[in-house]
């Protein structure tokens, strides 16, 4: 199989195993491209991509923009704070106005779950979901899977623990779906208030004990507490959270095996993970960021290649 089965990338949920494998293998080719003296290929010369960010982002926006430029696409950027959204324009109107400028692909981050899916039904362009509220963040999950595969050779059979604020995290859901499709076992770990009620229906193990999760896993993906999405207080104090769920060198070195540490960023150093751990040789946080560009290039390349059919 050489094309994706979906027209848009709305979430990992819609991807088949073959799609994920195709994206990961194509990303490996783009990673090689990024190591060349000239890190650019002309594939998307005739494609225009709009980056619509209705929510703050550093890594994802820069990573997408770099991926687009390295594929030679024309890029326009849009951030909600400096746009007519604040003047009362609806999402569909905003996007249709942008499409009137002949845009082929829209990369969108939005604070509401389902925004990307909604848009895909009403506008005539390919949509890439760059995070929709607490729902999905498919490219993050793909780059996490790519980074794990790069480190271990294969994702299949590995045990991955996702630790932290699962309730508000789009990274958690996309990662769970992606890793399970690739044959890994997943455990979520955090305070009960930050775990969704029926999370075990996804077939994941659930734990409220950090040490238990770390002893079990090969890879620990540490998530940030998403204070901006929390409408009430989910735990008594940050100090207590750090004591129970913060990953420090002491716990890490007391484990029976060397586990790999990941973090989707942004890191709150000293909260979910200490600086020592984040900068240790067990952490692959920066290679996750590096791989992000290659994975996003693969996604955009494969989606753009479908339009002709």
């Amino acid at each position: 199989m050489t094309t994706l089965s979906t027209k848009h990338l709305l979430g990992i949920k819609d991807l088949k195993l073959d799609d994920i494998r195709l994206i990961l293998s194509t990303a490996a080719n783009f990673k090689e491209v990024l190591s060349r003296p000239i890190k650019k290929v002309p594939s998307l010369r005739d494609v225009t991509i709009a980056n619509l960010f209705f929510e703050n982002s550093t890594r994802t926006r820069l990573s997408f923009e770099l991926a687009e430029r390295r594929l030679s696409a024309d890029v326009i950027n849009f951030t909600a704070s400096s746009s007519s959204v604040s003047k009362g324009e609806t999402l569909i109107d905003t996007v249709n106005n942008i499409l009137a400028m002949k845009v082929d692909i829209i990369v969108m981050r939005h604070p509401n779950a389902g925004a990307a899916e909604f848009l895909s039904r009403y506008v005539n362009a390919q949509i890439v979901n760059a995070g929709d509220g607490p729902h999905e963040h498919p490219t993050q999950a793909l780059l996490d899977a790519f980074s794990i595969q790069e480190k271990f050779g294969d994702v299949k059979g590995l045990k991955v623990a996702i630790v932290g604020d699962i309730l508000h995290s789009r990274v958690a859901l996309s990662n769970i779906l992606c890793l399970q499709k690739l044959g890994a076992e997943v455990m979520v770990c955090g305070p009960s208030t930050l775990l969704p009620k029926h999370i075990n229906s996804l077939g994941v193990k659930v734990s409220n004990n950090l040490r238990e999760a770390l002893e079990w896993c090969d890879v620990a993906n540490m998530l940030r507490i998403q204070l901006e999405r929390q409408d009430i207080r989910y735990f008594p104090s940050l100090r207590e959270y750090i004591q129970l769920f913060g990953l420090n060198m002491e716990i890490l070195s007391s484990l029976s095996k060397k586990i790999t540490i990941m973090h989707p960023g942004p890191i709150n150093r000293g909260v979910e993970i200490t600086s020592e751990v984040a900068d240790s040789d067990q952490s692959i946080i920066l290679s996750q960021v590096e791989n992000g560009v290659a994975v996003r290039m693969a996604v955009l390349y494969l989606l753009a290649g479908r339009t002709a059919e």
């Binding site: 080719n29 491209v33 594939s43």
Partner: protein, 210 residues
Amino acid sequence: MCECAPTPTPTPVFAFPSFYRILRNGMQKRLLLNSTHLDITIRRLCWQLIENHDDFSNSAIIGLQPRGILLARRIHSSLKEITSLSSILYGELDITFYRDDFRRRGIEPPSKTSMDFSLENKKVILVDDVLFTGRTVRAGMDAMLDFGRPSKVELMVLVNRRYSRHVPIEADYIGIHVDTISSEKVRVKWKEENEEDGIWLFTDENNKQE
């Protein structure tokens, strides 16, 4: 050694119907070059390279993925055997991301690129198995330039399908010339792919057009 040694033009092979083997689905195939002759041809190509490149100290052989690398690997190993040089720069280049038919045809899966040296000021020999429309080689030159600016670029092909070019590209080193029509296919088979070495011409009788 003469820099401008003329490449001898081998006699073109013409496709006579009586030589065809008829296959089940109306496809006919004919052997254009058997393994012995293929071997001789590869050695001749090597000697032609030696004429122009002396000790290969500033030259690099680049095989075009996916099919050109099989010829390039043979050329590279035969050259080392003939010249007793310990190393001749060798790379493999995938051109998928440089194709001019992206978004016009389906996506072909990319192959691996392995080039661990710069092409800056090198004399590059691009190697592919069959030169047909010339579009692959055009894309290959684009891809190659991302690894530096070579001082000279040459093209070696095992099969030159004449009268079928879409772009003005010709080869410097040619195994055999073949006159074909566009519905015919030329396939080079290699023992590395568990086939007997040889060059085959396939004709679809149902789809024959002059």
